[in-house]
């Protein structure tokens, strides 16, 4: 019943232009918007039944085939499949359902298309001396992402990839991963993936496409390729780049366009502005003592962010009070992960960043002085002083969403601070063909409009959904004679293209990609394609003179040329590349970018007048630009600062919220840990309108409204469709990132948001200890003043002793930046189910490790951000990952009536699932509330694809049992077995928990607390080490190192 309610509300949020929104109001909330351009109207079981009535035998199947051609039918079949949580099943007449199931199976046979021949793949650490069943093997490959590729080691169980780990040898990973990388494996097994090639909604074979492609090719050749267009996202694959370029030489008139919706042109064009040519900027935050980020979230997004986070965190470690720390200043319009870990943070409007940049440039001696508001002036001059004090070891970073000018200024500033070569350096572009995306797309659209485009090949991406609204991509697409769309899903764009080619996942295909510093990796498949999917290489090859040549040959051939036969022709060379996951010597060497900068060469700057409301667009921290919309893990991942799941919301500052009277209402069901109702607003921007839920975000610049991208998808799949609102609807080419001519009107509607942590302060409890560096030096033991654990010998009884290993964990809050990588890593490692928005709103999400977000020194009359208080304008923000504390005096164990949770000899608080009867007493008695309960059957037992995903070493829990973090006991035992086989003790660092291995900032350390030389023992020995709520005497094995902020005294006293 509540589901219906949600549908309705989702429906309110449907991002839409006026024309579309009418459709919505006719449609049921849960269904795709009808559209006149698509021939078939929407199907439901009833109509299918209608079509099938009194058909039998051949006839029956023929009718089914007709149906099968219909994307909506596919869609329907998918919809009815059981999903990530049985909760999501909508009631269906089972008998008809089974009929259709049978049909859909038959369909598989209809597209008779062979599998690509397997090529042998080389394991990473363990040599392939025959597979040992039950022992996973690790293979190196890379995940391409924007202008970067993250090297990963894929854990493969009997040939099915189950988990991604970072590749220590790969520059973008250095052994760590991010939430998106961790979650990308779920996309591989997503049952909603498109499975077959289609033409105008009917199933075709790949060979049929090859023929079509060839005829197009010949047609194109006839007119030198005029009218032949390729549209891609950012391409860093040398092979693909090579293929496309070769194609362009075949058809000189053909054009290659690029469009990445969520990573701006600023960096690219800024470099051009500063250096006269495209250059790639590589940061070395590890070498910087002082960093100023101008609206850059370099710790959590953008090329190289994992490596940057690692370098940065290493400069934040404090073993003794005498250690030094780097200092981070951030000026940004809306709180980010980077801003939250800043020592000093200045909320300013996005457009004011350029003002800051210009002023700073003047202060460090390039360009003319600029007048600033007093407070900002004080802040900036302090920063400028310090930057100059640290000449050569300071760093200024500009954000991807900032315009070219800011980037150019930043380059100039870094140059004049002498940072180039130490904390920042420049290389040849990583992109194969750097181009101003917006212009590129604009040109394509105008060509299409002019009818100049006969064939358009869209390789990935989803322009119909994410192209600037004013380009009206869809309308223009109709003018294209033949449109071809390669995409993992049958998405918004596929629906309007003639050909749809299902795209292979990066774990299914051969390819290659360059990392942010130029290092190239071979992408090797871990599993042969689950469906009849193809890669961009296949599609481009189809138009080449050698159609149908397999990606393996293409990649191999490219690198054979590139590296010279001598190296590659030797098998071992190739094998080593695959083995290491990187191609040696491909890293770009620094080139000295000669800054040809002058104030005049900057585009004119019109500072927005004070008090002007700014609407800014940002990629969503979970679903990015919308490509992860159908990923249940990321959808259910609480966003770092808002802790909202399953939705996006227009983020407003507390002050502005007060002005608009946007109050939040905590619902009784779920409450602070589940459901918060927020006001719905209409945002009118650039001539179109979107209806959005709002969220009050402390620390946001006063006159800023953030519209996160990536939601409001209509054809994302079961998980991702009709969630949140579509910000692209109001995003236009002239206001791609910042837009001012908008107005916001508060409606009477409210909308329930699934927020996992609404309460933001600690009520003065010993939970997250913080201090400034100065205070820490003065009083190193500050972390213990909150609460004291009773002395061990206070107990009447003799304590249990742990003579062997004593597993323990130390989490350094000084390093944690709240990026959430650990949460998804844990979910992937431990087969943790997705429960869906409704269940999250009831406070039943299942994450074994959560990241709590607290604001210190912030208060408000109602203890929540929706009632204004000046302390909310720019609160200090801290993150705290909370796994099971593995208490030695575990309160949960004492109250379990059936001994389903007991202590192991090594101090692990073990959960015995098959003994648990589910009284939930343990959870009630857990002071840290880390236990999770299967209130319903959350785990999906039917969907076959998801069975492949599961980690065979972790029990799949069913309904009615309690579960919680186990310190990855399966990993502990694997290592123990190896160690015992070699009759040696387990080495420190040999056991790496999933959260620890994922963490980019090395904040989590696991090990044997009994071994004085272990890293964890050393950390626990530090003065900053404390345990949450120590006074309860639960004696947690998970302890924390207090967070210390390296504040600048000049800024503090004012």
């Amino acid at each position: 019943m509540s589901d219906h309610a949600n549908d309705h509300e989702l429906h309110i949020l449907q991002g839409s232009t006026k024309r579309e929104s009418e459709h919505h109001h006719e449609e049921h909330g849960d269904e795709d918007p009808a559209d006149d351009t698509v021939r078939e109207h929407r199907l439901d079981l009833a109509t299918v039944r209608e079509k099938l009535r009194d058909k039998s035998g051949k006839q029956y199947w023929r009718t089914l085939e007709e149906l099968a051609g219909n994307p909506h039918f596919e869609d329907l079949l998918h919809r009815e499949f059981p999903r990530h949580a049985s909760e999501w099943d909508d009631a269906v007449d089972r008998r008809n359902f089974l009929k259709l199931m049978g049909a859909s199976l038959a369909l598989a046979g209809m597209a008779g298309c062979g599998r690509p021949d397997e090529n042998n793949i080389v394991p990473y650490v363990k040599q392939p001396d025959g597979m040992i069943l039950g022992r996973p093997r690790f293979y190196a490959t890379a995940m391409p992402f924007g202008a970067d590729a993250i090297g990963v080691l894929v854990e493969s169980h009997e040939g099915r990839p189950t988990k991604l780990e970072g590749n220590p040898d790969h520059p973008s990973s250095l052994g760590s991963t991010s939430a998106m990388v961790q979650a990308s494996i779920l996309n591989l097994y997503d049952p909603d993936r498109s499975q077959t090639t289609q033409f105008d909604g009917e199933i075709r074979t790949w060979s049929a496409f090859l023929e079509a492609a060839q005829s197009l090719a010949t047609a194109a050749k006839a007119q030198n390729g005029a009218g032949f267009r390729i549209l891609t996202g950012t391409v860093t694959s040398p092979t693909l780049g090579g293929q496309i370029k070769k194609l362009l030489t075949l058809y000189p008139q053909a054009k290659w366009h690029q469009w990445e919706p969520a990573s701006g042109d600023g960096a690219r064009e800024g470099a051009k502005l500063a250096f006269g040519r495209y250059l790639n900027t590589v940061l070395v935050p590890g070498k910087a003592n002082v960093i100023l980020s101008l609206d850059s979230d370099f710790l959590a997004s953008g090329p190289g962010h994992i490596a940057y986070a690692k370098q940065f965190s290493r400069r934040r470690k404090l073993d003794t009070p005498s250690d030094t720390m780097s200092r981070l200043y951030v000026a940004e319009p809306t709180p980010t992960v980077t801003g939250s870990s800043a020592d000093h943070r200045l909320p300013v409007r996005a457009s004011d960043i350029e003002l800051l940049a210009r002023a700073l440039a003047a202060k460090v001696g390039t360009g003319a002085a600029v007048a600033l508001p007093a407070a900002t002036e004080k802040w900036l001059s302090t920063v400028a002083e310090e930057l100059q004090k640290e000449r050569g070891t300071s760093l200024v970073v500009a954000g991807d969403q900032q315009p070219a000018a800011v980037h150019a200024l930043t380059h100039a500033i870094n140059a004049s601070l002498g940072n180039v070569g130490t904390t920042v350096y420049y290389t040849e572009p990583v992109e194969i063909e750097p181009a101003a995306n917006l212009e590129s797309l604009r040109q394509l659209c105008s060509d299409m409009h002019a009818g100049k485009v006969d064939a358009l090949v869209i390789l990935g991406g989803n322009p119909a959904y994410n192209a600037p609204h004013d380009f009206d991509f869809l309308e223009k697409l109709k003018k294209v004679h033949t449109s071809i769309h390669l995409s993992p899903y049958f998405d918004e764009t596929s629906a309007y293209c003639n050909w749809h080619i299902p795209e292979s996942h990066f774990l299914e295909t051969w390819s290659d990609a360059r990392a942010y510093d130029g290092t190239a990796s071979i992408i090797q498949p871990l599993i042969s394609p689950l469906y009849f999917t193809k890669s961009a290489h296949d599609v481009v090859a189809a138009f080449s003179d050698k159609p149908g040549s397999p990606p393996y040959d293409l990649v191999r051939a490219y690198w054979t040329d590139a590296m010279g036969h001598s190296d590659v022709s030797v098998e071992s060379g190739w094998k080593k590349w695959l083995n290491d996951g990187v191609i040696p010597g491909t890293k770009f060497s620094p080139i000295n970018g000669e800054v040809k900068w002058s104030a005049s060469s900057l585009p004119a700057f019109h500072p927005a007048q004070a008090g002007q409301i700014e609407f800014i667009f940002r990629p969503d921290p979970s679903v990015y630009d919308g490509r992860f919309a159908n990923n249940g893990w990321l959808q259910e991942l609480p966003k770092p600062l808002t802790k909202i799941t399953w939705d996006n919301a227009a983020l407003v500052s507390p002050k502005y919220a007060q002005k608009l009277e946007l109050l939040h209402k905590v619902e009784a069901r779920g409450g602070e840990h589940g459901q918060v109702r927020s006001r719905v607003v209409d945002v009118e921007l650039n001539g179109s309108k979107v209806t959005a839920a709002t969220w009050t975000l402390p620390g946001q610049a006063e006159d800023t409204v953030v519209l996160p991208l990536g939601y409001g998808r209509t054809r994302a799949g079961f998980t991702g469709s009709n969630k949140g609102f579509n910000a692209y609807v109001v995003r236009t080419s002239n206001g791609l990132w910042v837009s001012t001519d908008g107005k916001i009107t508060v409606t009477d509607d409210t909308y329930p948001l699934a927020c996992t942590q609404y309460h933001f302060n600690m009520e003065g409890r010993q939970i997250l200890s913080t201090a400034s560096l100065a205070e820490y030096k003065k009083n190193p033991g500050f972390a213990h003043e909150g609460a004291q654990a009773p002395a061990k010998d206070d107990s009447l009884y003799q304590e249990f002793s742990y003579p062997g290993y004593a597993w323990g964990m130390a989490i350094d809050l000084n390093k944690c930046n709240g990026c959430n990588a650990c949460v998804i890593a844990c979910q992937s490692e431990n087969n943790i189910p997705v429960v869906g928005k409704d269940q999250v709103m009831r406070g039943r999400e299942m994450h074994w490790i959560r990241v709590d977000r607290y604001y210190t020194h912030a208060e408000s009359p109602t203890n929540d951000p929706s009632t204004y208080n000046p302390s909310l304008d720019n609160p200090e923000t801290f993150f705290q990952p909370v796994p099971c504390m593995q208490c030695e005096n575990a309160p949960c164990e004492q109250v379990c009536p059936v001994a389903a949770t007991v202590h192991s000899a090594e101090g692990l608080n073990d959960m015995v699932y098959n003994r648990c009867i589910g009284t939930r007493y343990c959870s009630n008695n857990c002071p840290y509330k880390v236990r999770r309960f299967n209130f319903l059957r959350f785990q999906d037992w039917e969907t076959p694809q998801l069975k492949l995903l599961r980690n065979p070493e972790v029990t799949v829990r069913s309904r009615g049992v309690m579960e919680k973090c186990t310190y990855c006991v399966q990993r502990v035992n694997n290592v123990r077995i190896d160690a015992e086989k070699q009759s040696r003790p387990i080495r420190d660092g040999e056991i790496v928990t999933a959260c620890e291995s994922a963490c980019p900032s090395e904040a989590i350390v696991f090990g044997n607390a009994n071994d004085p030389d272990s890293r964890v023992a050393k950390l626990k020995g530090q003065q900053r080490n404390y345990s949450i709520l120590a006074e309860l005497n639960a004696r947690p094995r998970t302890t924390y190192l207090a967070a210390v902020r390296n504040t600048n005294t000049d800024l503090v006293k004012e």
């Binding site: 009784a668 309460h759 109250v895 009867i917 939930r920 007493y921 009630n924 840290y928 059957r937 009615g960």
Partner: protein
């Protein structure tokens, strides 16, 4: 004795009104009570009422079926509020049971004559309340079909129950309580069953009651052993009834949750139990005496005395509330202090004030004799107190869980349709069992009434 002397006697007696309406003989009491079971035809009222409660019981079964099909997720519980209506109802029902045992056992030991006419159905009430209570600990588990893990049996896993857990104590306490109450009840019934056997006209009645009465002959030897056994049972039931709610209170006071972890719980739970128990006895016996014209046996004297007991226990409960607050602030424990404040102005404060109104303020009216002797007022009051005690358990179980140690994990609770349907279902079950009881078994202990007639007649003689 002739009717003419009755008014004299009653005036002569210092007691304002008797525990037994004068003028009754052994035969008359026996006849009046047993006829309800043996001869009285099924009235329309009874049938209508029974149909109603029976359909409510069907609601209970439906709710349980759905619960087993889907899981406890159909309720409002979540993390952090792992316990909701199920446990609230469990504690409430168990509490109600207590009055029965108290009346039949403790008042017996204290040799209180006035207990005689109400102890039988008070005991029945105990049994039925325990039956209702017993449902919840079972069904609130995630996997009820595995609940037998809680019993110490030699399992193939070799694992035993974890005897440090208050839930295991519950299992033993509640099952013992149920068993002993049943024995006590049955032993009390034995002579009356014999009476019914001997008076029954229908063959099947004779057959059934013959079986149940085991061939009781009321010989001097029987009575002698019977009395010593009955006395012993009373002696055993007394500490038992106190222990049961103490153990129930351990479910909370053993845990470390702020608002649960306090030493006042055992006494204040027991008092609360008796409080609600007597309220329920009133709720039941006021309509009962009306429907079956038993005003002669259940006199104003009984109602008045029970009202006094409620008043007394009510004050103890009030003291309990006070001590909770006092301890919070006196100890200075920041978690307890915070919770105490939450009760007053947290999101659930209205529940707390409602319970203060129901459990503390309203019952103060019982100080006035006028109220104690006004049947209607007493009936309403008893309903109010039952509600109040339910609210108290809700405040303790749920509200404490919404605000515990980690602010980041704070949540709220709201019951779903299935929470309510299950609760109402057990109310139906309870009333249905009462309906069956009053028509199937003597609702008043006949043999004890005869004894009472004997004693009363002596009293009369002395006065003459």
């Amino acid at each position: 004795m002739s009717t003419s002397e009755i008014p004299l006697n009653s005036q002569a007696r210092y007691e304002p009104d008797p525990v037994l309406e004068p003028g009754h003989t052994y035969a008359s009491v026996t006849d009046k009570i047993s006829s309800i079971v043996l001869t009285r035809p099924l009235g329309l009222g009874w049938l209508a009422g029974f149909t109603l409660v029976f359909s409510i019981v069907m609601v209970l079964f439906a709710s349980l079926a759905w619960l087993i099909t889907k899981g406890v997720g159909i309720w409002g519980i979540n993390i952090p509020i792992g316990w909701g209506f199920a446990i609230v109802n469990f504690v409430w029902w168990i509490g109600i049971g207590h009055a029965g045992t108290l009346i039949s056992a403790i008042l017996y030991l204290l040799n209180q004559k006035w207990r005689t006419s109400i102890n039988r159905f008070a005991e029945a009430m105990t049994l039925f309340a325990v039956a209702c209570a017993g449902i919840f600990p079972l069904i609130h588990t995630g996997r009820p079909w595995m609940a037998y893990y809680m019993f110490p049996y030699p399992s193939t896993m070799g694992v035993w129950p974890q005897f440090r857990s208050p839930l295991i104590w519950d299992v033993f306490a509640v099952s013992t309580y149920g068993t002993v109450s049943l024995l006590f009840w049955y032993v009390g019934l034995l002579p009356d069953l014999a009476t019914l056997r001997d008076r029954a006209k229908e063959k099947w009645q004779q057959y059934i009651f013959g079986m149940l009465s085991m061939g009781w002959r009321g010989s001097a030897h029987h009575w002698h052993r019977y009395q010593s056994a009955y006395l012993l049972l009373a002696g055993l039931a007394t500490p038992l009834v106190l222990s049961v709610h103490t153990v129930v209170s351990f479910d909370f006071s053993i845990a470390i949750v702020p608002g649960w972890h306090t030493t006042i719980f055992p006494p204040y739970f027991v008092a609360g139990a008796i409080y609600s128990g007597f309220a329920m006895v009133l709720t039941l016996c006021i309509p009962l005496r009306k429907a079956y014209k038993l005003e002669g046996f259940i006199t104003m004297r009984h109602l008045d005395t029970m009202a006094k007991v409620m008043l007394a226990t009510g004050e103890i409960v009030a003291y309990g509330y006070f001590v909770e607050f006092f301890m919070a602030f006196y100890s200075g424990n920041k978690f307890d202090v915070f919770l105490a404040e939450q009760r007053l102005h947290g999101p659930y404060s209205h529940f707390y004030f409602a319970l203060i109104l129901c459990n503390i303020l309203t019952p103060q009216l019982l100080w006035f004799k006028k109220v104690r002797r006004n049947v209607a007022a007493l009936f309403v009051m008893s309903l109010i107190i039952n509600t109040g005690m339910w609210l108290e358990r809700f405040v303790i179980v749920v509200i404490s869980l919404t605000r515990d140690f980690m602010p980041s994990a704070w949540g709220r609770y709201s019951a779903t349709f299935w929470d309510y349907s299950t609760f109402i279902g057990t109310l139906g079950l309870f009333v249905m069992l009462i309906f069956l009881f009053v028509r199937g078994l003597p609702a008043i202990a006949i043999s004890e009434m005869r004894e009472l007639v004997h004693e009363e007649s002596h009293a009369n003689k002395e006065h003459v």
